[in-house]
Amino acid sequence: MIELDRVGKRYSTGFEALKSITLTIADGEFAVITGHSGAGKSTLLNLIAGIELATSGQVRVDGQDPAGSRSALPLLRRRIGLIFQDHKLLHDRSVFDNVRLPLDITGFAPRDGAKRVRAALDKVGLLSRERALPVSLSGGEQQRLCIARAIVHRPSLLLADEPTANLDMDYAQEIVEILRSFNQVGVTVVVSTHDLVSLRMARPRVIALSRGMLAHEADARTEDTGQKGAYRPTLRRGDDR
């Protein structure tokens, strides 16, 4: 479970990215954080992952404060799968070695690790490219590779920052389908995105941010009940500014 209690983030420049956000994301949820550029989406994900520290309030992931002990943070991160907007792939290593990195970090035996890596690559449809270098992959394939690396150690929480950015509709749908399949087996998925259209089929809980504040919350499933575009007003709120 992710709990944010009156969380604020102010940078040294004085810019206030988040203002008193209180929010709970339950285990097994598929949540989408949306909002305009600069609304604080990525900052929120960074606080959950312990990449940045909140300047006020408290963040708890599975009851643990990512800003707490420095020695506990790596262990927390091993329970999280991170999918980055810029992929953060190691371009001098093969697809296989990129995916194996989290297993190396946890000290997985090489033979068992190889099985897991191939299973993860199979899941994202990249098994045939395991010897390739990331630079030879398309944007969509790189994003899938990033997902394979994020799920290979079987995390209970997936955090994805703009996973469908710069992808065409077909690739974006593939990515969302992969994320949804993990959510269906109980993994909590939190995605920050502008692209609510691609994520519609995952029927996520939508959390909209505007100017660092919680602007709107909706459930995409309401669309099925005829309440058209529960997240559209959210987008308009963001665009209104």
Binding site: I51, S71, P74, L82, L89, L101, D104, F108, A109, P110
Partner: protein, 302 residues
Amino acid sequence: MTAWLIQHLRAIALTGRQVAVAPLSYLFQVLVIGVTIALPLLLYLTAQNLERLAGQSQADARIALYLAQDASGKDADLIAARLAAHAAVAGHRFISREEAIRDLKRLHGIGDLIDALPRNPLPDAFIVRARSTRSADIEALRAEAARWPKVALAQLDSAWAARLEAGLALARALAAGLAALLAAALLAVTFNTIGLQVVNRREEIEVSRLIGATHGFIRRPFLYTGLLQGLLGGLAACGLAALCVLLVNRQLPAIGALYSADLMARGLPLADLAAVSLFSGLLGWLGAWLAVTRHLWRLNPR
């Protein structure tokens, strides 16, 4: 196999891969470290060998007591009695002036020249062997004997050894100082080398941190690299020192023959060589630790 062991094996394998990527560059780094350590090591070896040589000379230290030309046989007997009773004297031998001139003729082949002299110019003499091998004790005995009646000159044959010993003390101090300076240089070399590797692998470090790598996990391959670099550098230094000893020993017998001495330089014993390599490895490890810790802190203070 535990996760701990797997991670160490992985770090060692990664170190091996790093070396394999640029073996020539690694070889030169090892050579730089080797030469750096070889300098104080050679100075130390030189001091050790000279000390051994001086020690041998001290052991052979003899005081020659030359009696006055007018000393009688009775005077010589009195001095012999004093020497026999002296606690600091291990033994003595009387060489009469006649015996001395005979030896001079026999050993140096200048009989005709000596025969041409109007009288025997050599004095009676005693060769005294001191009980102690310490230069201060020997010098004290010499000074005391010089004051005895009818002793014209008391000469310590190994007086040069005392001067050499003082010189050696200076050389040892210099070797220690140079070793400390060059240890700092080795630390700096490793710090910079590993620091560059950290910068080159900055992206990998950042990604590893984000997906749960501890500082220990990130440091490990660099520490092995530093340790290996230091160890190999230490071994290279020992190899260079051994080579120098070998080269010197090709020349020394010829020089020794000129002084009727059996001169051979000795290398360091195996235990000392192992200690030098381990110390160098330790410095490599420390330099790597400092470099990675500094860079980790600079990359992200958290």
